[in-house]
């Protein structure tokens, strides 16, 4: 609506110098095609003001044009159609009645309102009739009515513009005027007099006015004076204020100055306090009680009054290690007192350190000569002497040792070296004796041949002598190898001796453990070896970094069995190094021990391997010296073990049988005992897999080497060798039930069957050789296409020829042949093989089979010739029975 209003004003009314006040979108009632037009109320901008109502239409070109124009005063009736009902229709009556329909009811209402206002304003006297219109709309003050807003501003604006120039008299003025006129009766009749009267009145009033104005002059004067006085007074006050201001300014300055001064004073105070505090702290930190000094300069190292010395040493350590605040460090160089104090400490330190080092040095050397807790030469149980007494005696010095470590690393290293040296001698001796003793119960003055090179156990008396006196090294003959006859095995230990060895070895290992662990724990806590937990990295030098005073008391002070279960942290390199310095000969001795027994009886390597594995696997601290030593020994043991197995395999490969009758090859016979030993050793070991692996290799090797031996043997037919050996091997494997050898077992069985068949058919000896040859020929002919019935017509296979051949085998001859065969078989087969009956049964079967074949062929190829063999099947069976009864 607003845009339309705007464009209407611009396009239509600006041209005719009119002002649009109200607008209504209307159509004619009853027309189908509703032509929209606008009814506009407008006033012209010139005087006198005239209001018009225009009908405006949009022509085809889209421009707006006035269609009809009616002056408002021609408006006679405004008919709202219905007062109560809301309807958009309404009529305007000018020269005739125009009917309109507004676009909406509120618009209609507001337009009527505008009309009403216009009429009120410009046609107060001759208003057109407003009928059928709600009273509300027709109030004079239409502004309050809703919807009136749209139009009202336009109208009001127009009003104010109008009134500046021209205004109709208001009612009051009108009344005043009327009254004035009424007063003067003559007014109407005598205008001149009336005017005169009026001007007279006016002059009178003017005079009165001037008069009153004149009367107020003196009062004004008085007022002026008063004002002047007030001004003066104000000046004075201002001056005074300025004065005060100046004074105040001065005061402010001084106060500021005072505040500044005060601040400085406070800061100085604070600084002083801080300084005092720092100095105090420094002093307390560096304070070292005088009475301690005498403990340090002249220390008494008696074990029972060590406490004050330790206390003093600790105090010194704290003082030396005192953390001087970093900002004071450069100052400290200038403080003579601090310097002096430091010097004093340094002097004390070196002095005490010297004393301590000397003392401990002596102590170590003294203890190095400790015989240990009664070396038990006659003790029944094998035991490694413990040195807990030394540990107990030294333990009180541990704090001093820590002190040394922190404050005098060089001396500490030296001391440690001394300790290592003196104790290592002790341990070396102990271990040597221990191992010698361990060797004794088994050697027991008996053979322990092949005990290693004399360097291994040089310079030993007693048992060792016996050991070394035995043959230096053994040749292949005499070793307990699978490929060698048992009778030729050397003096290896028997089962009970091995058992004993196993026990002793276990004892050796379990004796070593507590001693080593005790020493290790002692070293750790005495030398505080775990304290420097800083990563050593590649720096293997044992120089410890001083100042690490976070000494951590690891482990308990007394190396007891209970504490050794305490899970040790990763034992550092330093500890290991120290331990290897202490137990210099342990690994060597252990390896020598292991090797000695390995040489004495190679089967020992099985026990050693299993035992050592157990100990290594059950070790909790895999990084400790002992574990590592055991570990490297285990590697040696494993090497021995593999070597042992390798030797066994080689012996199988090289095995030769020189006996007249081959029989069972030694490696097959020996495997039973070997496997039994292996089983008993590895029964529950976690190393079982290692054994199974070798079993498989050994058995496979045997299976492969039986044919070699069979071919190499001069007298016994290879089939017999194979048959007998595979049979025994198969039985053995069935009996041992070794896991993972099922395939080898089956193979042995199959090879046995094959060898049996081969022997029975090939080495049968053919008691009826010529007869067999003859019929082989017959069969060949048949196979090449000759009819069976025509065989008899072949020259080589005529009935005469057949008769000739048959004649060569009378029953007697056959029986003789069979007897010879039986003897031959008996000769071939060995007693241990135990296969004579099996073989003979197969041969009997085979012979009967051959007989039947021959009979069958005669029957088919020479039918009706009445030719039969000279002996019947009953004869054969009788021969068999006779052979059976003849032995």
């Amino acid at each position: 609506m607003a845009t339309i209003r705007h464009s209407l004003q611009k396009e239509v009314f600006d041209i005719s110098e009119e002002k649009l006040i109200g607008i209504l979108n209307v159509t004619k009632p009853g027309k189908k095609k509703k032509k929209i037009s606008f009814l506009c109320a407008a006033i012209n901008k010139e005087k006198p003001v005239c209001a018009f109502i225009h009908q405006i239409k949009e022509n085809d070109k889209g421009s707006l044009k006035k269609k009809n124009t009616w002056p408002v005063f021609e408006l006679q009736v405004v008919d709202g159609k219905d007062e109560n009902k809301e309807t958009a229709e309404f009529d305007l009556t000018f020269d005739r009645v125009y009917k309109w329909v507004a676009s909406s009811v509120p618009e209609k209402n507001s337009f009527i309102q505008v009309l009403w206002k216009i009429c009120c304003r410009y046609l107060p006297k001759q208003k057109p009739q407003f009928i059928n219109i709600s009273r509300e709309l027709l109030k004079e003050d239409g502004d309050k009515i809703e919807g009136g807003d749209i139009i009202a501003p336009g109208l009001d604006q127009a009003d104010t513009e109008d009134e500046s120039d021209f205004c109709a008299l208001s009612e009051r003025e009108q009344i005043d005027l009327e009254r004035l006129i009424l007063k003067s009766d003559s007014a109407v009749s005598d205008a001149e007099a009336f005017a005169e009267q009026l001007s007279k009145d006016l002059t009178m009033l003017d005079g009165a006015n001037i008069h009153s104005m004149m009367a107020s002059e003196s009062q004004v004067k008085a007022l002026m004076e008063m004002i002047d006085a007030a001004l003066l007074e104000a000046d004075k006050i201002e001056k005074r204020l300025n004065n005060y201001d100046e004074i105040l300014l001065y005061v402010k300055d001084s106060i500021e100055k005072m505040a500044e001064k005060n601040f400085f004073i406070e800061q100085t105070n604070a600084n002083n306090r801080q300084l005092l505090e720092t100095v105090n702290q420094l002093i307390t930190q560096l304070e070292f009680p005088q009475e301690y000094e005498k403990f340090l300069t002249n220390p008494a190292f008696q074990i029972n009054n060590l406490t004050p010395v330790i206390e003093a040493a600790k105090a010194l350590e704290t003082v030396i290690d005192a953390q001087i605040p970093p900002h004071l460090i450069h100052l400290q160089l200038h403080f003579q007192a601090v310097k002096d104090q430091k010097k004093r400490f340094e002097r004390l330190r070196s002095e005490f350190s010297k004393h301590l080092a000397r003392n401990l040095n002596n102590l170590f050397i003294y203890h190095g000569n400790d015989p240990g807790e009664s070396l038990s030469f006659h003790a029944e149980k094998l035991a490694l002497p413990r040195h807990s007494n030394i540990h107990n005696e030294l333990m009180p010095y541990a704090p001093l040792m820590h002190w040394m470590r922190n404050l005098d690393p060089k001396a500490f290293q030296k001391l440690r070296q001394t300790y290592s040296n003196s104790m290592s001698k002790l341990y070396e001796r102990d271990i040597k004796i221990f191992f010698d003793e361990a060797k004794q119960p088994i050697a027991g003055g008996k053979r322990l041949r092949g005990s290693g090179s004399s360097q291994d156990i040089a310079g030993m008396s007693g048992v060792a002598g016996k050991l070394t006196s035995l043959s230096h090294s053994r040749t292949g003959v005499g070793a307990a190898l699978l490929g060698i006859e048992r009778e030729q095995w050397g003096g290896e230990l028997d089962a009970s001796e091995r058992q004993k060895f196993d026990q002793i070895f276990e004892q050796v290992l379990s004796e070593l453990e507590p001693v080593c662990l005790a020493e290790q724990e002692f070293c750790i806590s005495f030398f505080n070896l775990l304290s420097s937990s800083e990563p050593k990295g590649a720096n293997t030098s044992t120089a410890s970094t001083p100042g690490s005073n976070t000494s951590e008391e690891s482990g308990s002070n007394t190396p007891s069995d209970s504490s050794r279960r305490h899970p040790l942290k990763q034992v550092s390199r330093e500890v290991r190094l120290m331990m290897s310095e202490l137990f210099t000969n342990l690994e060597q001795q252990l390896t020598s021990f292991v090797n000695t027994f390995y040489r004495a009886d190679s089967y020992c390597c099985l026990y050693i391997y299993v035992r050592l594995s157990e100990h290594v696997l059950s070790a909790e601290d895999t990084g400790s010296f002992l574990s590592i030593t055991f570990g490297s020994c285990l590697i040696q043991a494993k090497r021995n073990y593999d070597n042992f197995m390798g030797l066994q395999i080689n012996s199988i490969k090289e095995c030769r049988v020189t006996k007249k009758k081959c029989g069972i090859i030694p490696f097959v016979t020996n495997f039973e005992l070997f496997a039994q030993t292996g089983e008993s050793v590895f029964k529950k070991s976690e190393r079982r897999g290692d054994l199974d692996k070798w079993y498989a290799m050994l058995v496979s090797c045997m299976i492969d080497n039986i044919p070699r031996v069979a071919i190499e043997h001069q007298r016994t037919p290879p089939e017999v060798v194979k048959m007998e050996n595979y049979h025994v091997l198969y039985q053995l494997l069935s009996q041992l039930k070794l896991p993972g050898l099922e395939n080898q077992r089956k193979e042995a069985k199959q090879r046995y069957q094959e060898a049996l068949n081969a022997y029975v058919t090939q080495y049968f000896g053919r008691p009826l050789e010529k007869l067999n040859l003859f019929f082989d020929g017959v069969q060949a002919k048949v196979a090449s296409g000759v009819k069976e019935s025509e065989i008899g017509y072949q020259l080589a296979f005529s009935k005469q020829e057949l008769r000739k051949v048959i004649k060569e085998y009378p029953g007697k001859e056959v029986k003789k042949g069979l007897e010879q065969l039986y003897k031959k078989v008996e000769k071939h087969l060995s007693e241990e093989g135990n296969l004579l009956q099996v073989v003979w049964r197969a041969m009997q079967e085979e012979f009967i089979q051959q007989y039947k074949n021959t009979e069958d062929l005669i029957h088919r190829c020479y039918p009706g010739a009445m030719i039969t063999l000279d002996f019947s099947i009953e004869d054969i069976l009788n021969y068999f029975s006779d052979i059976a009864l003849s032995h």
């Binding site: 009956q837 003979w840 049964r841 009967i848 059976a884 009864l885």
Partner: protein
């Protein structure tokens, strides 16, 4: 065989022969005794030999077992190994009367071949675990064994019941018989001179 000085004296060797009809469980008994195993599937045996070391009454002995074929076309073939045997386990199945009847023949052949009425011999009724399929009563079997003057034992190769007993009883018989015959020989004046030498 030459006996080395270190070779232990070979243990006594007893030769046991398993006889009986086919399928009565001779091989099953043997395998159970040898390897503690029971083989379900049946495969007819021709002849198999086994050897086992056992401790019999505190003495280590070696038992050789010849497991034989139940089905043999010609009985005479058996002569040879009957001849080699020192003791016999004559097995039948308690679920099969025919196999029981067959024991008679075996017995006769053994006696003929060995020519010895007192040859160590055990009548063994196998498959005792299959009680519900029993066809041969204990009494019948016992009666026969009494008649032969040999022990009767019922076994089960499956449950291992009496398996060891059968073999050990027989081995014991063989052993005592050997001892007796040795004693007889020693008591003869010819051998007594040997004693003096020893």
């Amino acid at each position: 065989m030459s006996v080395g000085k270190k070779t232990p004296i070979q243990p006594a060797l007893h030769k046991v022969i398993m006889v009986g009809s086919g399928g009565v469980g001779k091989s099953a008994l043997t395998l159970q005794f040898m390897y503690d195993e029971f083989v379900e599937d049946y495969e007819p045996t021709k002849a198999d030999s086994y050897r086992k070391k056992v401790v019999l009454d505190g003495e280590e002995v070696q038992i050789d077992i010849l497991d034989t074929a139940g089905q043999e076309d010609y009985a005479a073939i058996r002569d040879n190994y009957f001849r080699s045997g020192e003791g016999f386990l004559c097995v039948f199945s308690i679920t099969d009367d025919e196999s029981f009847q067959a024991t008679q023949e075996f017995r006769e052949q053994i006696l003929r071949v060995k020519n010895d009425d007192h040859i160590p011999f055990l009548l063994v009724g196998n498959k005792a675990d299959l009680a519900d399929k029993r066809r041969v009563t204990f009494e019948d079997a016992k009666q026969r064994s009494d008649q032969w003057n040999v022990p009767y034992v019922e076994t089960s190769a499956k449950t291992r019941a009496n398996v060891d007993k059968a073999f050990f009883d027989l081995a014991r018989k063989i052993s005592s018989r050997k001892y007796r015959s040795e004693a007889q020989e020693e008591s003869s004046p010819k051998k007594s001179s040997c004693c003096i030498i020893l």
